[in-house]
């Protein structure tokens, strides 16, 4: 116990040290003049160091945005935490493993009246399992996962379980998109020789860890995308041989998946924000998505050494508008039927953010308790303002020793939502069970800028795609993709994989159509309830989308003059991934009740053929002599015995 406490002390010490270092770095790095008394940091921060070191274009900018936000928060915190730092007892700094844990919750009221709550938990793992050193000591990082990752030499692992479909046009963009069902993609280390074998074992192990049907991932639903899924962490391994991607659109997510996911957190569901995760509330929602991302990141801003990051996210959309008798108000207790009473003691930072962008003067809604801390960040190309509640600060909890945020709407209508710039839809056209056509629609809502998108389609083998029927049209004209990577399917072995780079003209809808043929399967290959249909996973649209901030030529918004003339490079576009709806396709079915009959009848027909030919081949024509009657034959036998001439 003492050791445990000691660890916490060390952690606090390290944390404060790091905070200080970060702030120093920031001051050196930015030449913006900071207003000491203003807590609202109005300056768009410079690009995060880690992000700028990562060179690829397909970087997850969401991640960058997250780090920016956290960065500012650190600054904010610095103001009131500095005295603490002074008072921290001197703990000898002998922490070899610089593991770290952070947690946060972002709440965003959506324009449809729903509430979007996004939990993020980040565990940093400073270890080196790659060079063969066996890791036996785990502090914050979950041991069950750590062992698996080091055994299979995983470089990056992304897994998500989602129930429901994210309605982009009503809700805007999610922080971390995920397709309905289960999605798993893994980059292996380039030292792995048998990638397929490792993948097979890994999916089975993960299936056990998360109580999910990941063991149904096999070669018929695994692909190796060539461009859509680049590593999100450090390292520029882009050889797709080490990448495996699979989606199980049929997977149903429920409590049994949430419990093992919560167990991976250092505090479990005992303390901190994870206390709010009560499954009967979380699954009584319009959308539920839990994910886990593991990747290597920079340890410090110079990026001399790498550290492993485990990011666990949970996104929920509550439909409080209809369930709350039309009253537009929410509170933590209403959503989760719990309140926050403490931060996780192991967490170095623990915060709750509430999106108040639409409510700068408090005319739209009222948020209580109020917080003096505000933070601004560019999330998904849009500048958002957040109220920040720091749970590590006891003052946040007030007299009641619990935090229960309450938001009450004043206006009946909220303002118009900015349309998402990129949006995708998909459906199956055609009738009957013989052929069909997959239509994918991609909307570019940007008024004047065209941008390229990367479309990834994975279609199971039993829908036989015809690549020569592929058409891409936008604005009524043929739009030839500049890059096509097509891997045809193999029956019972491999799915179709289609990747295309398409330029979307401004303010347009681009339609991709492709015909397919429905196969008749063996009767044992149908899923239970075959007439329900077969699921086809979402197609993935990845794009670098021009930022809304850069698009904003509206000069009425108040912002410093020096920041508004040239939109800076980092903000001009951001990476975005959009998942379309999964498809449900019916296949022709045989009659499952009559295998015996079919075998008997077909064999009979073959036997008729064989029999008639055999008959003709083995016999010869003879003149028929009428056979004598029975009485005559009997008489003849008697006559023969008697030695009398026959009749």
């Amino acid at each position: 116990m003492a050791a445990h406490r000691c660890n916490i002390f060390m952690l606090v010490f390290v944390l404060c040290g790091l905070t200080y270092v970060f702030v120093r770095a920031d001051i050196e790095d930015t030449n913006h003049v900071k207003d000491a008394e203003s807590v609202a940091v109005d300056i768009a921060p410079k690009a995060n160091i880690g992000a700028s070191l990562r060179s690829t274009k397909t970087e997850d900018q969401t991640q960058a945005a997250e780090e920016e936000r956290q960065w500012e928060a650190t600054e904010v915190k610095e103001a009131d935490r500095v005295p603490d730092t002074m008072q921290t007892p001197d703990v000898p700094p002998l922490t070899p493993a610089k593991d770290q844990f952070q947690e946060e919750l972002v709440i965003r009221p959506l324009h449809s009246g729903d509430i979007y709550a996004s939990f993020q938990f980040r565990t940093m793992w400073d270890t080196d399992f790659l060079r063969g050193s066996k890791v036996s000591h785990y502090r914050l990082f979950p041991k069950s996962l750590g062992q698996v990752i080091s055994k299979f030499s995983v470089r990056e692992l992304h897994i998500s379980f989602t129930q429901g479909y994210w309605r982009t046009m009503q809700w805007g963009q999610p922080f971390l998109p995920s397709p309905p069902g289960a999605e798993l993609w893994v980059w292996f280390q380039d030292t792995v020789t048998d990638v397929d074998g490792a993948w097979k074992e890994l999916t089975n192990v993960l299936s056990g860890i998360f109580c999910a049907s990941l063991n149904f991932i096999d070669s018929t639903n695994t692909v190796q995308p060539s461009a859509s899924f680049k590593p999100l962490g450090l390292g520029n391994v882009t050889d797709q041989r080490f990448l495996r991607y699979a989606v199980l659109p049929r997977e149903i997510v429920c409590t049994e998946n949430l419990t093992p996911w919560k167990k991976l957190l250092p505090c479990g569901s005992k303390a901190g924000l994870a206390v709010l995760m009560k499954s009967e509330k979380l699954f009584h929602s319009s959308f539920h998505s839990q994910a886990l991302h593991f990747r290597p990141v920079c340890q410090d801003w110079k990026c001399k050494s790498t550290v492993w990051e485990l990011r666990q996210t949970l996104n929920v959309v509550f439909d409080l508008h209809t369930s709350g008798q039309g009253k537009r108000e929410w509170s933590l207790f209403k959503m989760f039927s719990r309140t926050v009473t403490e931060a996780c003691p192991l967490a170095s930072s623990s915060k709750v953010y509430v999106d108040v962008t639409d409510n700068p003067q408090g005319e739209l809604f009222e948020l209580s308790p109020t917080t003096p801390l505000l933070s601004q960040a560019v999330v998904l190309g849009d500048r958002r303002t957040y109220s920040v509640y720091d749970l590590t600060n006891q003052a946040t909890f007030g007299q009641t020793r619990s935090l229960n945020m309450l938001l009450r709407w004043r206006a009946a209508e909220s303002g118009d939502m900015l349309r998402p710039l990129l949006h995708g839809e998909r459906y199956v056209a055609g009738y009957g069970l013989q052929t069909g056509e997959i239509h994918t629609l991609m909307y570019n809502n940007h008024p004047y800028r065209a941008f390229p998108v990367l479309l990834l389609d994975t279609v199971p083998w039993y829908l036989r795609l015809y690549i020569h029927t592929l058409t891409v049209t936008s604005k009524g004209r043929d739009n030839k993709p500049s890059y096509i990577h097509y891997q045809p399917s193999k029956d019972r072995l491999r799915p179709h994989l289609l990747e295309m780079l398409v330029q979307l003209p401004p303010n347009s809808v681009t339609e991709v159509t492709m015909q397919f043929e429905r196969a008749l399967l063996k009767w044992t290959e149908y899923t239970p309830d075959p007439n329900h249909g077969f699921y086809v996973g979402s197609s993935v649209i990845s794009a670098l989308v021009p930022s809304v901030v850069a698009m904003d030529t509206n000069s009425t918004r108040e912002c410093p003059l020096f920041s508004s003339f040239f939109p800076c490079k980092e903000e001009s576009s951001y990476f975005m991934r959009v998942y379309t709806e999964p498809l449900l396709v019916n296949l022709p079915t045989p009659d499952f009740s009559m295998p015996y009959n079919v075998i008997c009848l077909t064999c009979t027909v073959v036997a008729v053929g064989y029999g008639s030919l055999y008959n003709l081949l083995t016999r010869t024509f003879q003149v028929e002599e009428p056979s004598p009657g029975l009485a005559k034959r009997l008489a003849n036998i008697i006559r023969r015995l008697r030695g009398v001439p026959l009749l």
């Binding site: 069970l433 013989q434 036989r464 029956d491 009659d591 024509f621 028929e624």
Partner: protein
């Protein structure tokens, strides 16, 4: 003779041209009776598209044509319609020559009724051409641009060369037909028998001339087959096509409904018996060659007909184009009509089934008011009718042979009129 043939040709081409321009041209290539996964034009186009994308056409499971076909169509893709028509015409040419073969069937017997008059013989090529070119099955198959027409043309050329006695060309075309779809392998025996007969070499195991010619013909056949396979390898520089074409034909992985017996049987098969039944069904196609060759060793042309019919009934992916091929032979056996036992029943069943195929398909796939058993029942009936047709012709042929040797009006010992029975 030339005038009616030309007229026939013009009519046939006109029908096809009109159908190509009509709205049916989109509907017919989707019919499962007309095209199979092996010979659908849509899949040929897909293979060409894959080739253009830089992907091997055999990387996927859509294209199952041989490499020579894909390169052939690579050059003539724009003229595909014409090619399919030409292939029909080639067939016509073949039977112009076949009459000579039939003339050789004279018997020095007194059964004048059984021997065809030269006048009848004269019209046989025309009738055969008419039966092939105006057969709705052929027209459908041609309008669907099924490559089955090409295979039929190759087999027709093979028969033509065999009948003309050119053993090299016969071997080459037989090899080409085998290369396209393994099954014509069984035509090796009748071709060899015919050529031996033409050269007056008796089928005698002791004679060296028999062995010499057999070796020579086998060598020509295997040599040209080998050249074709190697050429395919050099065109694509991979052996993938072997499993994708021949493995596909033999192991029947694609269970798309067709008019054959395989699809529903193997869709409903228990997994652990699957291999066994595939072996049984495939051996069934090749097996009849040996007894038929022994029984019909004096009549290789009829043996060719029997083999083609058996292939088209029992092959793994049959289409109506295959049926049209053996049906084109039927006018050549018009002297057998008097011995046919149930030709009326069989033809009615065949006609009814042909009409019911699209109806039951619609009910199952589009209307949803029937299930797969309905379509399956019709395929069963259709195949029973075909089997009856073929065995009936076989019976009639054997019976005619019997009458040719024993006289037409047989008498019993007691002088009353006798009935012939198989014993």
């Amino acid at each position: 003779m030339a005038a009616p043939l030309t007229l026939l040709l013009i009519v046939a081409v006109t029908i096809r041209a009109v159908l190509f321009r009509s709205s049916l041209a989109e509907l017919i290539p989707e019919r499962v009776e007309v095209v199979s996964p092996l010979n659908a034009w849509k899949r040929v186009v897909e293979g060409l598209a894959l080739l253009d994308l830089g992907v091997s056409p055999y990387a996927g499971d859509v294209f199952h044509e041989t490499p020579l076909i894909i390169y052939f169509f690579h050059f003539v893709i724009d003229y595909a319609e014409i090619v399919f028509m030409v292939m029909g015409c080639v067939f016509l040419l073949q039977f112009r020559k076949q009459k000579y073969a039939l003339e050789a069937e004279r018997y020095p017997l007194d059964c004048l009724e059984l021997i065809r008059t030269p006048k009848e013989m004269y019209y046989i090529p025309l009738k055969v051409a008419m039966f092939y070119l105006l057969n709705p099955f052929t027209i459908l198959s041609c309008v669907a641009k099924s490559t089955c027409g090409l295979n039929n043309a190759v087999i027709a050329l093979f028969i033509l060369c065999t009948v003309k006695g050119s053993s090299l060309m016969s071997a080459i075309f037989l090899a080409l037909a085998t290369y396209q779809s393994i099954y014509p392998l069984t035509l090796f025996a009748p071709a060899l028998l015919y050529l031996l007969q033409r050269l007056y070499i008796p089928v005698n195991w002791q004679r060296s001339s028999f062995w010499l010619f057999t070796t020579q013909y086998t060598f020509m056949y295997l040599g040209s087959l080998c050249v074709m396979v190697c050429l395919s390898f050099f065109l694509l520089s991979s052996w993938d096509f072997l499993s994708s074409v021949y493995g596909f034909i033999l192991s029947v992985p694609d269970l798309t409904p067709n008019i054959g017996l395989f699809w529903y049987f193997f869709a409903e098969m228990f997994e652990h018996f699957r291999l066994f039944f595939i072996c049984v069904f495939q051996i069934n196609v090749f097996f009849y060659t040996i007894p038929l060759s022994i029984k019909l060793k004096e009549h290789p042309i009829f043996l060719i007909f029997m083999q083609i019919a058996i292939i088209s009934i029992f092959k793994s992916y049959p289409t109506v184009g295959d049926i049209a091929l053996y049906m084109a032979f039927l006018p050549a056996w018009n002297h057998l009509y008097r011995f046919l036992r149930n030709i009326f029943l069989v033809s009615v069943v065949l006609l009814a089934c042909s009409a019911l195929f699209p109806v039951l398909w619609h009910l199952w796939i589009y209307a949803g008011s029937a299930n797969s058993n309905f379509y399956y029942a019709i395929t069963l009936l259709f195949n029973v009718a075909q089997i009856l047709l073929v065995s009936d012709y076989f019976y009639a042929y054997l019976r005619r042979e019997h009458h040719l040797t024993h006289g037409l009006y047989l008498k019993r010992k007691d002088g009353s009129e006798a009935t012939l029975v198989l014993k």
